[in-house]
């Protein structure tokens, strides 16, 4: 029963935020403590692999809405808590209105609700709530570029959700239920009917718009780079992962392996290419998010339980270091006055040491330097027997990531007496610690994980090799930067991309 308190309490706290600015900050802290306490309790309850299930209203699962705290939730709740704490600490000194904190509480409540729900239509409503709250937070500072980016996001997300709704209609027409577990039974016995592929295509296309996949999420670079930095950290670190969670649930209903392979590969490579040639730090981080989501989706395509563990681990790790990177990038850009790489490098003396340190740790994490978080999670993925195609894309993406982040190398200089001190040290340390100590922390929280010791040397070699190749390539091609087509990110083209993507997914599901 405790399970339902988690999202609802955040909604209640969000309402009370209107009592005043100081009240809003205090409530944020209270909300975090409550969430942390409940999470610890639930994780202890399910330590032995069981799940905590409740059907709201006490009805049977087909009638009421079912909430369940299972392995997915147990993995993601700590990530939510860490990012929540980091963001609260980061914005502590900024003078935000109660609206900001209220929206933050609603966002967190919606995330908790999505991780717990086992009902298809409930997923739709929560995704729409997430869209609305993220959309408002992206445009929060009301600059025209932000308003335009969030408007594009809203229109495309709304189109995606309409497709999702029709998918729900098709599924319900044929199976009579909306509960995910009952649906899994019903769909496995329907076999090869054309409506199964149709429903799968519609639902997948709908979620893909929010999850960050290639033809569907062309709103992402603009929205994630224009948003205020704390919000970008939440969006790239957390909200995008919610799309991945829904994908994981959908992949238990429909045969999505081929679809995930194609979309994942396209997203990973496209994101890496655009990230490599971006000239603004936050935009590069946004493209890198696209690329890493492709990586995650490819991992899902492998399909084995070990691969799923790797995907979950990497989703958490990416949330941590992308969140850290966005927070640090925000402070660096604010101090220097511009987000472009050449300006950051030219005026790197003004960036506080703590910020540079945070950027460094985040970068080391994302390029998968052993033994940090990124390396550990990738190691699990690589040892779960991916096919040659997936391995090749993994390797290319790793090299591409390093290539893109090599642009930050000139910034990594520490000064003995910095010009100014960072006000956000607490926020950075909240996220840096789990990145640095990921392996011991994960082993303590999930004692079931084990990695064969014979694979370690090869994995270390692979990671370091990818990093070396990436840096080398960057040095060699530093002078030449091609112009990449930017028009695919316009609203009209993105709409066409969604349509074509839907047809593509249907074709992949049928054959």
């Amino acid at each position: 029963m405790i399970v339902v308190v988690l999202p609802l309490s955040h909604f209640v706290l969000g309402l009370f935020c209107y009592a005043g600015k100081r009240a809003a900050r205090a409530l944020a802290a209270v909300g975090w403590c409550l969430g942390a306490a409940l999470t610890v309790f639930l994780m202890l309850e399910t330590r032995d692999g069981s799940t905590v299930t409740v059907v709201l209203g006490g009805w049977s699962p087909g009638l009421g809405i079912e909430l369940r705290f299972d392995a997915f939730a147990a993995v993601f709740f700590p990530l939510v808590l860490l990012l929540e704490l980091a963001v609260i600490l980061y914005v502590r000194k900024d003078d935000h209105r109660p609206l900001f904190y209220a929206l933050l509480q609603f966002l967190l409540g919606a995330v908790f609700a999505l991780l717990l729900t086992q009902d298809l239509f409930n997923t739709y409503v929560i995704l729409e709530l997430l869209t609305l709250v993220s959309f408002l937070l992206v445009g929060y500072e009301r600059r025209p570029a932000q308003i335009w980016a969030s408007l594009k996001y809203l229109v495309l997300a709304s189109i995606g959700m309409s497709l999702f709704l029709i998918g729900i209609a098709v599924v319900y027409r044929h199976t009579g239920t909306l509960n995910l577990h009952l649906l899994a039974d019903a769909l496995s016995s329907s076999g090869d009917a054309r409506w199964v592929a149709l429903a799968g295509a519609l639902l997948t296309a709908g979620v893909a718009v929010k999850a960050g996949l290639f033809t569907f999420s062309l709103w992402l670079p603009a929205a994630h780079s224009e948003a205020p930095s704390a919000i970008s950290a939440l969006l790239s670190g957390l909200v995008i992962k919610m799309g991945i969670v829904v994908f994981l649930r959908l992949s238990q209903l429909f045969p999505l392996e081929l679809t995930l392979q194609v979309l994942g590969a396209a997203t990973a490579l496209l994101g890496a290419v655009y990230a490599a040639y971006a000239i603004d730090l936050k935009r590069m981080l946004a493209f890198s998010t696209l690329s890493q989501i492709g990586y995650l989706v490819l991992g899902m395509a492998i399909g084995t339980p070990a691969a799923i563990v790797g995907v979950l681990g990497y989703a958490v790790a990416h949330g941590l270091f992308k969140g850290l990177l966005f927070l640090a990038a925000g402070e660096a850009s604010a101090v220097v006055g511009s987000g472009q790489f050449r300006d950051l490098a030219a005026r790197r003396a003004e960036i506080p040491n703590a910020t540079v340190g945070a950027l460094l740790i985040g970068t080391l994490g994302i390029v998968a330097l052993p033994p940090l978080a990124g390396f550990a999670a990738k190691a699990v993925l690589l040892t779960s027997h991916p096919g040659p195609f997936i391995m090749a894309v993994f390797a290319l993406t790793s090299v591409g990531t390093t290539f893109a982040f090599s642009k930050l190398l000139p910034v990594f200089r520490f000064r003995r007496e910095p010009k100014r001190k960072s006000a956000r040290l607490a926020a950075y340390s909240v996220l840096s610690t789990p990145i640095l100590f990921f392996i011991p922390l994960a082993a303590a929280a999930f004692p079931g994980l084990r990695l064969s010791p014979s694979a370690w040397p090869l994995l270390v070699l692979e990671s370091v090799g990818a990093i070396a190749v990436g840096v080398l390539l960057h040095r060699l091609t530093e002078r030449r930067a091609p112009r990449l087509p930017g028009s695919i990110f316009f609203l009209e083209e993105s709409t066409l991309a969604i349509l074509i993507g839907l047809l593509l997914v249907y074709a992949l599901l049928r054959g």
Binding site: V4, V12, L15, V55, L129, V170, T175, G176, Y506
Partner: protein, 235 residues
């Protein structure tokens, strides 16, 4: 129109056409004549106490969805007010010069409120429900402000009061869903007596939820409407 954009238009129309055809063909293939009944049939009147089965579904079995949706509406109201900006004009002139408009608007206002009350309180035995009730009542208030001028209406119906009603209704809704927990019952379960089907006092907590939703939607819609009117500068 340039050749590039003509090609783009063609591509859009062709792909949309493919999608439409695809959905229609795939949907109608292998579809059984009658859909399997969902699991809601037959027992819903005994279990919820409401003869309106739709109300039974969205205010009892799937109350959580309605809660989230009211929250979406609340966030929308917050968003409209924040992003419309604070440039509110103090004195809003009324455009409706005609006597006919003013009189008929003044006549319709109490009717709209009455209709709102009817829809909200009898939502469990006839079509209706909180959302429609709130929307109708808010339209009524807007009609009154067309008739009497928005400044006169706002002197009686202050913005801060409306805000408190809105947040209060949502808070009571949230707390009501959590109330069964300390009493040992599952969250969002119905604690009130079901009554006899078809009576006015039936359906357990459904009339209560309907009223709360109606208040929330009325307050929220009126806040949106007055923001637009104040931003625009005339009504």
């Amino acid at each position: 129109m340039s050749r590039g954009s003509r090609l783009f238009h063609l591509l859009v129309i062709v792909s949309t056409g493919c999608v439409v055809l695809l959905v229609l063909l795939a949907f109608h293939s292998e579809t059984p004549e009658t859909a399997p009944y969902g699991t809601y049939v037959d027992r819903s009147v005994e279990e919820t106490g409401a003869t309106n089965r739709v109300a039974g579904v969205y205010l009892n079995y799937r109350l959580y969805d309605s809660l989230l949706e009211v929250l979406v509406f609340f966030v929308a109201v917050l968003g409209v007010r924040h992003y419309l900006g604070t440039r509110e004009r103090a004195e809003i002139p009324t455009l409706a010069e005609s006597e006919v408009v003013r009189t008929s608007a003044a006549l319709l206002f109490p009717l709209a409120l009455l209709l709102g009350v009817y829809l909200a309180t009898l939502g469990q035995i006839s079509p209706g429900g909180g959302f429609g009730a709130g929307a109708v009542a808010a339209s009524g208030v807007l009609l009154a402000s067309i008739a009497l001028g928005i400044d006169a209406i706002e002197r009686r119906l202050r913005r801060t009061t409306i805000e408190r009603i809105e947040r209060g209704a949502l808070l009571v809704f949230l707390l009501l869903t959590l109330l069964p927990l300390p009493l040992g019952r599952p969250a969002m379960s119905d604690l009130l007596p079901k009554g006899s089907p078809g009576a006015v006092l039936s359906g357990g907590a459904i009339p209560l939820y309907n009223t709360l939703i109606a208040l929330k939607v009325l307050a929220g819609s009126w806040l949106i409407l007055r923001s637009f009117v104040r931003h625009r500068g005339e009504i």
